[in-house]
């Protein structure tokens, strides 16, 4: 009898497979016109979630990101996650940072998603570093979605740029939008070479395929090997 191989592991790039025992602080840059950042994070987390895991998870939004990209809608959330959501709305980015850190320090949370709009002064390198350390110390993954933000300094272990990708046409109605797809660019990571992928939700699992490289320097960086490229 052949042991059942992990179904999705080969399809996902190594950067998306969680390191053993290590929770990462990932930063997702997304536009304010769509919700690709949060959707990407939730797709990955619902992929990773063990079926018996019933721990709640935290979604922190500051007021600006709530106004721009909307409020979580339970019927549209991934089924594995929708009943475990705890949603926090904060008036200021400072409060959002506080809520994120409190969430990271809580041992009963599965993961924490933060959404912050723009480049607030409070989200400095120091604040980012606090979040990184708290996430690693308590083993709670953090997905910090930066809505319509510039790529400023950060201590995130992985930094992604996300935008929606054209979906594949569904089987029965080619005119309808298909399941979700994203164009994910890993432009800085501590333990992985950068790369670009198209991630799709094929109905059962996430599949990734390398995106067509638009520039050559990404190729060069990819060939450089498995060394840490970014210090922080």
């Amino acid at each position: 009898m052949i042991a059942a191989a992990p179904f999705t592991a080969p399809a996902l790039p190594a950067a998306l497979v969680p390191a053993r025992g290590g929770a990462t602080h990932a930063e997702l840059f997304a536009s304010a016109q769509d919700c690709a950042g949060a959707a990407f994070a939730l797709a990955l987390e619902s992929q990773r979630a063990a079926p018996e895991d019933e721990r709640p998870w935290l979604w922190v939004q500051d007021r600006a990101s709530l106004r721009q990209t909307g409020r979580p809608y339970r019927p549209g959330l991934p089924p594995a996650l929708r009943h475990r959501l705890i949603h926090v709305v904060t008036a200021t980015p400072e409060d959002a940072l506080f809520a994120l850190e409190e969430g990271l320090r809580c041992r009963d949370l599965a993961f924490v998603v933060g959404e912050m709009a723009g480049n607030p002064r409070a989200l400095s390198l120091t604040a980012q570093r606090r979040l990184s350390l708290a996430a690693e110390k308590h083993g709670v993954p953090l997905w910090l979605v930066r809505v319509g933000a510039q790529r400023d300094l950060s201590s995130a272990r992985q930094r992604w740029a996300l935008r929606p990708a054209a979906s594949l046409p569904p089987r029965w109605n080619a005119q309808a939008p298909g399941t979700a797809a994203w164009h994910a660019e890993l432009f800085r990571a501590r333990n992985h070479p950068p790369g670009e992928w198209i991630l799709r939700d094929d109905g059962q699992a996430l599949v990734a395929q390398p995106a067509q490289q638009s520039t050559d320097n990404v190729d060069l960086a990819g060939a450089a090997g498995d060394r840490p490229l970014a210090a922080g």
């Binding site: 809608y73 308590h138 929606p164 309808a176």
Partner: protein, 507 residues
Amino acid sequence: MSIWLARLAIDRWRLAEGLRAGEGADAAPHALISDTAHGPRLTATNAAAQEAGVQVGTMLTDARALCPSLAVAQADPAGDRAALEALALWAQRWGPWSALDLPDGLVIDVTGVAHLFGGEAGLIADATQLLARRGFKARVAIAPTAGAAWALAHYGPEGAILQPEDSLDDLPVAALRLDPATVLVLRRLGLKRIGELSGVARDALARRFRNHKAPAANPLIRLDQLRGRVPEPLLPVLPVDVPLVQRRLMEPIRHRSLLDQVLGDLCADLVRVLEGRALGARRLELALWKVDGEVLQCRLELAAASRDPTHIAALFGRKLDDLDAGFGIELARLRAPWTEPLPLSQRDFEAAAEMHGTSLAACIDRLSIRLGPDAVRRPVPRASHVPERAQRWVPPLAGESVSQGDLPFHTRPLKLLDRAEPIAVLYASPDGLPRRFRWRGQVHEITRAEGPERIAPEWWRERSTVRLRDYYRIEDGEGRRYWIYRNGLPDDGRGGVPEWFLQGLCA
């Protein structure tokens, strides 16, 4: 109930001598003296001395001239006071609380307890008998107010009980608990009985004593207290037991290291006692009994109430450096005579949270304390097919309400805008679906669309002018997926040309 221990000081002297009334030294004239600037003065006399004509308050030399055989002893006001406090606690057998009535009386609240002793007369008989058995001569009276009970105990008949129809008008004005100067003033005014005060116009008396704020100097205040017209709060006596721990040692210890260990144990015990009462020690006394009968005393005071055993042990340790244990120490006792309230605190709350993470409830508490209770919520489904009503927000730890099942929706967006935003249709296909629209100043080209999904308003709760909605799930040229709807139909008669709105952002 007021108890007047008329001869408290002399009774205490007699009991200390071990005599009964009228026997031994008590049969001869005897007096207690206190030293004043002009020489010794009598503060109390016994019955034999009173028969001989000796009066309290005279100088000892004058009394000796009157009664050369007068024996004297030093008065002990502090001891009298301590005895009175002990008696006040003991007197709580007759009522829930008692107060001191210095220098030689007690006031006990007996409201509603007289039936336990067979009525008020039985209560008085019981009190008199028990006090007499302890060797004190007492006069007891019961009245509705403390002032009236005091007046009856001091100036009324023996064992008086004030009935509603009784009047205290015949008692002298001194029964109003006034100081001697005020009594003298009243006597000079010709007011000798309480009833005579009523004969004078009240505002005249008020004007005469308008500068006397103390109740003991103002007969009007005392009169109102006597009649219960103004409240008279009394300070009850409460027993306080000093936290005390001790260790009796099997073998006398002579070495410092063993003493340090005993001291550490004592401190830990004392801290446990203090913790149980939510107190912190300000003053500590350590007593060490030596085998040869000597007691070593060591005391220290703390700047602030403390309950830290290592801190206390270290402070004592420095004082025990030059201790002479002699043949050994057999008993060690630690007391905390002065304590202050010190609330229990979680010492390592932050540290534990730092090490192991907080619990979910603690995390929610911190979030909702800082951000407000409405900021932290979770969505639960609601049985409605109108998109914005299909979920509602409840407190984060509230359970989901029981339902037969969620409504099965077709694909729904990941996020919903709080208010659907209108979009401007730039170009529409013949069936009405926009092909190009503008939202937030940006033009989107629809490449694929699915719909319509027609959602009618809930007619049982909305007005009849609310229009139905046709929802479309769309994807634009850059792969962005939205959920838009047309509000109404062109010919539904509920408004003009239908408008388009963008309500949700799909994954």
